[in-house]
């Protein structure tokens, strides 16, 4: 019996799995329509952008860093796309790639500052959080840009569900493969566990960090493009608050902020938990106040549960030794 429990607890994602299961059951019991495929599809679509950003953040947090600028990068890439595709009539594909490039540049700035100048990640990304958002406002002069015509492939109806969900699925798969099956992923985790040890064992820590932050920047850019197309508008405010939600999802999923321990499966479970929570709160007609309250509480509860999981493992293991 104890072995089964221990096996379950040792799954990194067990804490979030429990929370997710409880919330889903609660929601399903109150609203049976929730489990219909069309409902689930809509919900999944709503969280595609967050999923993509959360995957990037998982990689960054795995190295022991953090990136609070992702929301602002979503905003500035949204505006970039709007200005290039709509106002300057650029080829939509080139405009999109440029927008992704802008995301990558901000990511690279973060990565360079962390790896070469060795500034603390939270400070660097605080600076880019501020600067990127400011740039979004400056470039757009505070005004939204409406996508009034058809803009090539950007107006393809596949953008409603197929493309975003595909991107979300691809990022999840890609993130999982990177973390679990590649030497790059192992290097990420090693860097997070101990930068010094990683360096001594020959890992190019700087390059790893640069890569992690740049990837996250590009993913944030992708989320920016997706958000823009979803509402057919570029807004400088796009992505505001995404960093909070993304970090919440990642940490809920069992990825450790200290680095060295990460789970993409945990991250998607974290995103799913938040989706279900919000859906449930909307259903009960909760006020913005209550939603805010619950989001904060669920984050703290999830982390407490994970701590509990770890201490339970220790206690059960100690019992084993005594036998």
């Amino acid at each position: 019996m104890r072995n089964a429990v221990l096996k379950f607890l040792e799954i990194k994602e067990s804490a979030v799995l429990v929370v997710f299961a409880i919330l889903t059951l609660a929601l399903a019991s109150q609203d049976a329509t929730f489990l219909e495929s069309s409902e689930l599809l809509t919900l999944a679509r709503q969280y595609a952008e967050l999923t993509i950003i959360a995957v990037g953040l998982t990689l960054v947090i795995a190295t022991g860093g953090i990136d609070i600028s992702v929301g602002s990068v979503v905003g500035v890439t949204s505006i970039t796309l709007g200005i290039l595709a709509v106002e300057k009539h650029w080829n939509p594909l080139i405009a999109t790639i440029t927008a992704l490039g802008v995301g990558g540049i901000f990511g690279a700035i973060n990565g360079y500052a962390v790896s070469k100048i060795k500034i603390q990640p939270v400070v660097v990304t605080l600076a880019t959080y501020s600067a990127a958002r400011g740039l979004a406002y400056v470039l757009s002069q505070g005004r939204p840009i409406w996508f009034v015509e058809k803009y090539g492939f950007l107006s393809n109806p596949a953008w409603e569900y197929t493309i975003p969900l595909t991107f979300a699925a691809l990022s999840l798969a890609g993130g999982w493969i990177i973390l679990n099956k590649t030497s790059f992923g192992r290097a990420l985790l090693a860097t997070g566990a101990s930068e010094k040890a990683a360096r001594l064992s020959g890992i190019a820590v700087s390059r790893i960090q640069l890569a992690a932050y740049t990837i996250t920047g590009v993913l944030a850019g992708l989320a920016g493009v997706m958000t823009t197309i979803r509402v057919s508008t570029s807004v400088p405010d796009a992505g505001m608050g995404y960093e909070f939600e993304a970090i919440t999802a990642v940490v809920m999923g069992g990825t450790s902020l200290k680095g060295g321990e990460a789970s993409v499966i945990g991250t998607i479970l974290g995103v799913a938990t938040m989706a279900v929570l919000r859906r449930g709160l909307n259903l009960t007609g909760a006020t913005e106040i209550r939603k805010m309250l619950f989001l904060g509480l669920v984050l703290i509860v999830a982390v407490i549960l994970d701590n509990l999981r770890k201490s339970l493992i220790r206690k059960l293991r100690k019992g084993e030794k005594e036998i």
């Binding site: 605080l126 400011g134 913005e288 805010m292 989001l295």
Partner: protein
């Protein structure tokens, strides 16, 4: 073997020089910078960010961070305003505000130390919870007009005097008292501090309580300025406070920081903002410039540490 004399450059010198050069450039290009009205306006804004940066510095010195200060401001000032609007005297309402802020800080401290959650996560969570509470207790309404006597906090040169007094208190605490030394000890090397008998938990809780207290003070300054307050007024303000602290030289890894630095950092952000207004640049440039300032301050600090290491 000859020893190279080591010159101790005060940590705050670069910030101070930057501040001075900015101010001189501004005075030359826009003389209105030194207008009494402009200076008083900057003084009011400075008192708010400066006081809060002092508390934030205490937390960051211990190796933590507090993202919830803006929400603590909203909750504590909101409760105080409710009290005033319901007829309680201003002094009592002020007490309520300060107490509420300190209690919020206590909650943060307990969560960080006893339940062992990383500070960034705790305060991310409490940021939401405190903000939600602020909206709840004030019914999401704009409260006011608040009693005129509250305005005394931000009239004339009072805000600067208040800031100066609180800065001196923090300076003495950081530099001359046991509690202050313990903040640096815990931030510098937590294990060593613990082994030398310091109650690390208590020190951290103390730091978060200071952050909460100064956040409530910031709320009082804000409420006093316009004699009106609404729960969402200070949203996002935590970044101004953290920016001020970082520009002022506090190190996120802990163990380094000063009261003077915190206030100088605050001054830099205020002068930058004011400068942009005087130069008639669109307000949105503020965030870009502040971001660049944070970056520059942090990079400069790293450069200096590296030189000292060699």
């Amino acid at each position: 073997m000859s020893k190279r004399p080591t010159i101790q450059i005060p940590k705050e010198l670069p910030v101070f020089l930057f501040l001075m050069s900015m101010s001189i450039v501004l005075t030359i290009t826009r003389p209105q910078f030194l207008n009494p009205a402009n200076v008083e306006g900057m003084g009011r804004d400075l008192s708010m960010v400066g006081i809060m940066a002092l508390g934030m510095t205490a937390v960051i010195i211990t190796g933590g961070i507090d993202l919830s200060v803006a929400s603590i401001l909203a909750l504590s000032a909101g409760l105080g305003a409710e009290a005033m609007v319901k007829g309680l005297s201003v002094p009592i309402a002020v007490m309520i505000t300060l107490a509420a802020g300190t209690v919020c800080g206590l909650i943060n401290g307990v969560l960080v130390t006893k339940i062992k959650i990383p500070p960034i996560i705790v305060t991310l969570g409490t940021m939401s919870i405190f903000q939600a509470s602020a909206l709840y207790f004030t019914n999401s309404e704009s409260l006011g007009p608040l009693p005129d006597s509250l305005g005394v906090l931000t009239s004339g040169t009072n805000p600067i005097i208040i800031l100066a007094i609180i800065t001196m208190i923090f300076w003495m605490m950081f530099a001359k008292t046991k509690s202050g030394r313990r903040l640096y000890a815990v931030g510098g090397n937590e294990e060593a501090a613990r082994l030398s008998g310091i109650s690390v938990d208590r020190v951290k809780i103390y730091a978060y309580m200071l952050a909460g207290l100064t956040a409530s003070m910031g709320g009082l300054m804000m409420a006093s300025n316009t004699l009106r307050i609404q729960a969402n007024d200070a949203m996002g303000y935590e970044l101004n406070v953290i920016a001020a602290a970082v520009i002022g030289g506090v190190s996120i890894s802990g163990g380094v920081g000063s009261a003077l630095g915190a206030v100088l950092g605050g001054m830099v952000t205020i002068v930058l903002r004011n400068g942009l207004v005087l130069l008639q640049m669109p307000e949105q440039w503020t965030n870009v410039i502040i971001g660049a300032a944070i970056f520059a301050a942090a990079a400069f600090d790293r450069l200096r540490s590296r030189r000292e290491d060699s």
